[in-house]
Symmetry: C2
Subunit: 141 residues, 2 copies
């Protein structure tokens, strides 16, 4: 199999099985954070079992292929981590709309926080999410 999704998987040292290729294909196409349910709904029926989706996503995250987000919705969201790129999100607390914020300045802040801490030895990643109201939802109230 030689789709873009399959290559993406192999490039990260992961087996390119049918369910995995299908999942990555959806992530490539949607380009937005998706929940497990979003993913399963977007797949042709029976392409991947729910357990397979959870296990695959965990493997992908470990391999650095995707990022896992927590936007306080009580469920995890996943998005492809494009090479070298690092961004955060604007989240509408009314409708759930998500917009990317490029340009992260947390690194320096994180470095200083680590230096100031007596109990922490290393920092590996961070999450920064901005919550507010989108223009559509402002109109509606």
């Amino acid at each position: 199999m030689h789709t873009r999704a399959a290559d993406y998987l192999r490039d990260h040292g992961l087996k390119a099985t049918a369910p995995r290729v299908a999942i990555v294909a959806v992530l490539l196409k949607e380009k937005r954070p998706l929940s497990v349910q979003d993913l399963l709904d977007a797949l042709p029926k029976k392409t991947a079992d729910q357990a397979t989706a959870y296990r695959s996503l965990e493997a992908f995250a470990e391999a650095g292929l995707i990022h896992r987000l927590d936007l306080g919705q009580g469920k995890a969201l996943y998005e492809l981590s494009e090479e070298g790129e690092h961004h955060h999100h604007l989240v509408c607390t009314s409708c759930g709309k998500i917009e990317d914020v490029e340009d992260c300045e947390v690194e320096a802040f994180a470095r200083r926080a680590l230096e100031a801490s007596k109990r922490f030895a290393e920092l590996h990643h961070h999450s920064l999410e901005l919550f507010g109201i989108c223009k559509d939802c402002v109109k509606k109230r």
Copy 2:
């Protein structure tokens, strides 16, 4: 009833019922982010039902008395939001240890992100969590 917890509740326009006072008392005492289960375990038996805890915490968060955190543990954590203070967290991904990081510099970043966005109208709050390994856990490996 005139405990510190009860006053805390009334100051925020909330009824000071027995279960609520008990919950706030635990939050005042522990001074760290607690899960609902943590809270229930810390309460004398039968002080508050689980449903009451969830409903109270939701009301507290809405009133601005507490903050809800999501540290990717699959469950929400709650901590008192002390007046005027605003902080973030260092989280050990190995043992779950949490340390506060005072001194937040996200406001300016958030303002710029909002200005740069075509679709968002207002920003209300944000979350910034730093994930890494604490010194204790570094030793153990």
